[in-house]
């Protein structure tokens, strides 16, 4: 199972989390980098021109809370108390939250993190699988700063610790 963006070390043991309504068309997975639409619902950002106005990182897939994807889901005619929400790490509230994630090339191939990566800034990459990685090839649309590395026996098992640049975090957000 690939490593997705997950909250890592920080001053607190528990990241600042809020539950946010997602746009009904969303299909994002845990670790997705999120912004908001005009209705204040969270949406997955794209990496084409670099991420901007980031509000948080998804802690779970869409439609994965209790009440969704139940057995014989197609037979369900009504869901009581079921919410169209995901818990997200709130970057507006806590912009210094540190995450861990894979370091890859622009093609999604794992890159061995080295000490020279520390304090470097990079852009992000959204793979076709829905997984987000830190794009070692993207030094144009910087979105995160690598603050530490974790090197393991295999390149695929290694990862970087990073935090989002203040410049890509939304100044404020009216999250539903």
């Amino acid at each position: 199972m690939p490593r997705v963006f997950i909250p890592a070390t920080g001053a607190k043991t528990v990241p600042t989390v809020r539950s946010a309504v997602y746009d009904v068309a969303e299909t994002f997975l845990k670790g997705a980098v999120l912004g908001t639409n005009a209705d204040g619902e969270v949406i997955e950002l794209t990496t084409g021109a670099g991420v901007v106005d980031v509000v948080g990182v998804a802690l779970e897939d869409v439609a994965s809370k209790p009440g969704w994807n139940a057995a014989n889901d197609d037979k369900i005619v009504w869901r009581t108390g079921v919410v169209r929400e995901v818990s997200i790490v709130d970057l507006i509230e806590d912009p210094n939250q540190i995450f861990s994630g894979r370091l890859t090339t622009a093609a999604g191939v794992d890159v061995a993190p080295t000490q020279s990566h520390i304090l470097e800034s990079r852009g992000l990459l959204l793979l076709a699988s829905g997984e987000w990685t830190v794009n070692d090839d993207n030094v144009t649309n910087d979105a995160v700063q690598i603050v530490d590395i974790v090197v393991r026996d295999s390149v695929a098992g290694s990862y970087v610790l990073f935090k989002f640049l203040a410049s890509v975090i939304a100044a404020s957000a009216n999250i539903s």
Partner: protein
């Protein structure tokens, strides 16, 4: 967070001892119209089942005609979590001369009680629109369009025209109760035994008049009070927590009532002191689910 200035009246002598902060609450009302139980499940799913309604006429030598058991659709319910807390600085607690700042448990217990009551009453407020609560036929609790799983006939539990609480209004609901059918459209016996009304004087007084008069109330005639013959001694539940501007009212057969409140985590209280600031922190949390599956056992009108 309460700091000193926010409760500074409590720091000075001479205040009257009665702070008007403790009240006699009504007994819990939601168990009167919701079945209350406990659950360990993260979600509750339900369906309905029926089968053949009648045996078929069989000619000499003919084989038996076999038919299937019929399964309904599915509804699912997920509990909601409720939480609240109070933080008071240590100095505020120490300077309070009346012991009033240090009563977070009392305030949070009250908040928990009210959460149960108001959330439970929301099923009454939503009974005619179904924005939050719908049953196995994907309709509100009270509807003129209720369907049967294995019969094309409608099974309304709301009169075609809503009449305010009165002899006529109750009669209309009792007439509907008399015609309730099961999933096959076969008649079933319903015995409404509960009347649920809002806390407004007109409806409460009307209910009392109807069931305390041997003769038909509100008329100059000595006509027998037929309602008392049909439903002699119902429990009258006055909901103090449903929308007070609503004049909706309900009859319920408590045996067949399928609306329930499942407690996932009973009201829980915790307190601690913040290590860095030494402020006193108190919190209360609970998880429960309110839903209904089958509409049978309820009748209602919403004249507003």
């Amino acid at each position: 967070m309460n700091t000193q200035a926010s409760l500074n009246l409590l720091f000075r002598a001479g205040l009257r001892k009665n702070f008007r902060d403790t009240w006699n609450e009504y007994d819990p009302e939601y168990p009167e119209y919701l079945k209350v139980d406990n659950t360990d499940e993260p979600e509750i799913r339900a369906t309905i089942i029926t089968s053949i309604s009648r045996l078929m006429e069989r000619g000499d030598g003919e084989p038996v005609i076999y038919d299937d058991i019929i399964q309904g659709p599915q509804v699912i319910g997920v509990d909601k979590e409720f939480a609240g807390g109070i933080i008071i600085t240590r100095r505020t607690l120490e300077d309070d001369k009346y012991g009033k700042a240090n009563q977070s448990a009392k305030h949070l217990a009250h908040a928990g009680r009210m959460t149960y009551e108001y959330r439970a009453a929301s099923i009454l407020d939503d009974a005619f629109t179904g924005a939050f609560f719908r049953g196995i036929d994907n309709l509100p609790l009270i509807s003129v369009l209720h369907t049967n799983l294995n019969s094309p006939a409608l099974n309304p539990n709301r009169p075609a025209a809503d009449v305010s609480l009165s002899v006529t209004g109750i009669t209309a609901l009792l007439d509907l109760a008399q015609r309730v059918t099961d999933h096959n459209g076969d008649p079933i016996r319903m015995s409404p035994d509960k009347l649920i009304v809002s806390n407004n004087a007109a409806d409460v007084n009307t209910a009392l008049a109807i069931w305390n008069s041997a003769l038909e109330p509100f008329t100059p005639n000595n006509t027998d009070n037929v309602i008392r013959r049909r439903i002699p001694n119902p429990t009258i539940v006055i909901s103090h927590y449903k929308d007070l501007t609503s004049r909706s009212y309900f009859l319920q057969d408590s045996r067949y009532n399928d609306a329930f409140l499942s407690v996932k985590r009973a009201l829980e209280f915790d307190d601690t002191f913040d290590f860095d600031t030494q402020a006193a922190k108190a919190q209360s949390t609970t998880r429960f689910l309110i839903m209904f599956v089958d509409y049978r056992g309820w009748w209602g009108a919403d004249p507003t």
